[in-house]
Symmetry: C2
Subunit: 410 residues, 2 copies
């Protein structure tokens, strides 16, 4: 895409009321727009990143047998009464509104109830199990404060998968597969080495739930890391669990962290409430065993902005970047245009800065937007034999031939 | 995909309270689930169709220079006060809710206000124009009645594009391009021949707006068609415009129709309210000329279900279908599995009915789901030299060799 066509502009300063680093950088780069506290629009660059992240998540969910669907925002009181989660005294972050006939409806903050009711139409026999269904859908949570940018929104995208299994063994088997899928996702987006499988409080049906926590100064959680096992313990259970649950190590490293995902065994809590049962081979009735698996694509994008960035801007990986290559023309429009066309033909995602701007401004914008590869075409580079090639995560640039460049980014 | 893995089941009867044909068929086929009146979830088969439709729309919007973004549901009163559209007396289908601090916020039923405000950050000069920005995003409208299935929802997906041009000429130029893009979309999904460009009431800034109306008994609108020009007039303006606006023909055919799209010249209504101005080459200030262009992907899916269906189910086209091929094994699982693998390798989207069900049930399900090509593998077909091949929109089947079949659907 030609940058002269891109309607968004970068800005030198973030809005004064924006205190989070992720939103500051993303607003300055033209990735997102703040509509109100905790409510952000995604502009073309931001939507490209978000879609990249969604595609990564989707691929991993499909690999473990997930079937994608799309549930609704508007939620029926009757459904939530079954689990006693309708009342604002029980759930304190509902948004609620009213139909014309004065019936109160809620805006879904999660979807266990909706999907359990739905599955009653589709699960009757052991032959119908297991089922793994997920969605990437907008959730609404009436947060009292929303100062963490896109890491804690009042309106935000969530990937939520729900598993339905016939017994604890098959549930546990899938739970481990989901754990691995989550690890893959964080590896692929580039935060795998600072993200820890974290033991957190469970529920009636399991001792622990598991979170994935990314070490960051801007995190809202505290975790205790076992560097031997590369796992962590959430502070909320450190009193009961003060050593590594895997090796017993008590020498734990305390860090602030961002919760980028969580997986939870639900047991029969929801299937009991909705009478979601199946008949086994002997026509005996059993409740379905459930699990839920959440990850916020927007929060993940915010976490990347928090952790993979420097004072100049964000440092996207190839797979999350809005464009793979940022091509800058410095007074060599004809030569740059030719390279632009070659990249397009090769199917390389390229943002071409064809604007009539000074070099300093183009460089600053390039660092702020943070594509992994920057290539500068100028009279000087051409005289030196090609283009100036630089990786966003390196300070060194080099002059290479156009052919060599095309080979490296293909 | 193997149908034994698909978690949804078809059903013989639609829910009794469901009066619309589109929702009846789509619920029976396992495409959608009714959460409450006017609020439908998309199940895996339905989401596949919806995504196909979104991709068709997206491609046409990108072709005319559209840049995709994603605005928010939650809307700020202050923004809507600018155009006096906040009050429930002015707009009677708002859903509203409250933040924790008691601030009222709305759920967006359209986004002219939000995007005009956004563009103030990005449009200052004639060099920044034109801008064409669109989204495929969930809208909320508090409909008093919602009895048309996914054709009129309280919560529904909308593609809304907004154009920002420097003058009326460049606006008109784009408006015609958008008209053509819309025609392309309706052609591609298969309803082009029953969909008419329809003159409808304009506003302060243009004599007409334009709708795209698909002839259907279930339509809520009345149109008068000029069969010479293949255009129509909406009943709402028939008193002022009782002849074809293109040829003057007064011999018009009256039909019920579904509004599947509309395009509208907004003039400076919103740019005036938000002071969205640009400086021209002489540093003179002018308001930006705007247009809006809407199409509901869910409504379009519902319209296809209404108009491209028979008593047995829906008849999707290749490009909208959840799967291109429905492969049915009737007691020849091994041979069918082989063909399934071959189709998968060729990248053909195939649903493989590997279930242990009777032939009649498999045929009925296949017609209800409505994939364009059905292929049956049975002992009998193998003895006759191959597979039984049938198009959904034809009553005739034929026995063809496996190679011939693979060639036809590749």
């Amino acid at each position: 895409m030609k940058q002269s066509q891109l309607f968004t502009k970068t800005r030198k300063e973030a809005p004064k009321d924006e205190v989070s680093k992720n939103a500051q950088l993303l607003i300055r780069g033209g990735f997102i727009n703040k509509e109100m506290a905790g409510v952000y629009s995604y502009l073309p660059l931001g939507l490209r990143v978000l879609n990249n992240i969604n595609d990564i998540i989707r691929a991993e969910m499909n690999k473990i047998g997930g079937q994608e669907l799309l549930l609704t925002t508007l939620q029926d009181k009757e459904v939530w009464d079954k689990t006693d989660r309708w009342s604002d005294d029980v759930v304190d972050n509902w948004f609620k509104t009213k139909l014309k006939n004065d019936t109160e409806v809620g805006l879904g903050f999660t979807h266990e109830e909706a999907i359990t009711r739905l599955m009653k139409d589709h699960i009757q026999s052991f032959r119908d199990l297991p089922v793994y269904a997920y969605q990437i859908q907008t959730k609404f949570r009436n947060e009292a404060r929303a100062k963490s940018g896109i890491m804690r929104g009042r309106e935000f995208l969530m990937k939520d998968l729900y598993s339905f299994s016939r017994d604890v063994e098959s549930h546990d088997f899938f739970y481990e597969k989901a754990k691995q899928a989550y690890k893959n996702i964080f590896d692929i987006v580039g935060i795998g080495d600072i993200t820890y499988l974290t033991y957190a409080s469970g529920g009636t049906f399991s001792k622990y739930s598991h979170e994935f926590q990314t070490v960051s100064e801007s995190g809202e959680d505290i975790i205790y890391i076992c560097d031997k096992c590369k796992v962590a313990i959430n502070e909320e259970i450190i009193d009961e669990q003060n050593s590594c649950p895997e090796c017993g190590n008590k020498d734990l490293r305390k860090e602030k962290a961002i919760e980028v995902g969580n997986i939870f065994s639900l047991g029969t809590k929801f299937s009991d409430a909705f009478e979601l049962n199946y008949n086994d081979e002997n026509q005996e009735k059993h409740p379905v065993i459930m699990g839920s698996y959440g990850i916020g694509p927007g929060r993940l994008m915010g976490t990347i902005a928090e952790t993979l960035s420097d004072e100049k801007g964000i440092v996207w990986t190839e797979i999350t970047a809005p464009f793979k290559v940022h091509l800058l023309s410095l007074g060599a429009d004809e030569e740059a245009e030719k390279i632009y066309n070659q990249l397009q033909q090769k199917g390389v995602d390229v943002l071409f800065d064809d604007r009539d701007k000074k070099a300093g401004e183009k460089f600053a914008d390039s660092d702020l937007i943070g594509t992994p590869y920057r290539v500068v075409v100028s009279k000087k580079s051409i005289e030196s034999g090609g283009v100036e090639f630089k990786k966003r995560d390196s300070d060194d640039s080099e002059i290479i031939s156009v052919d060599d460049f095309l080979e490296r980014v293909k």
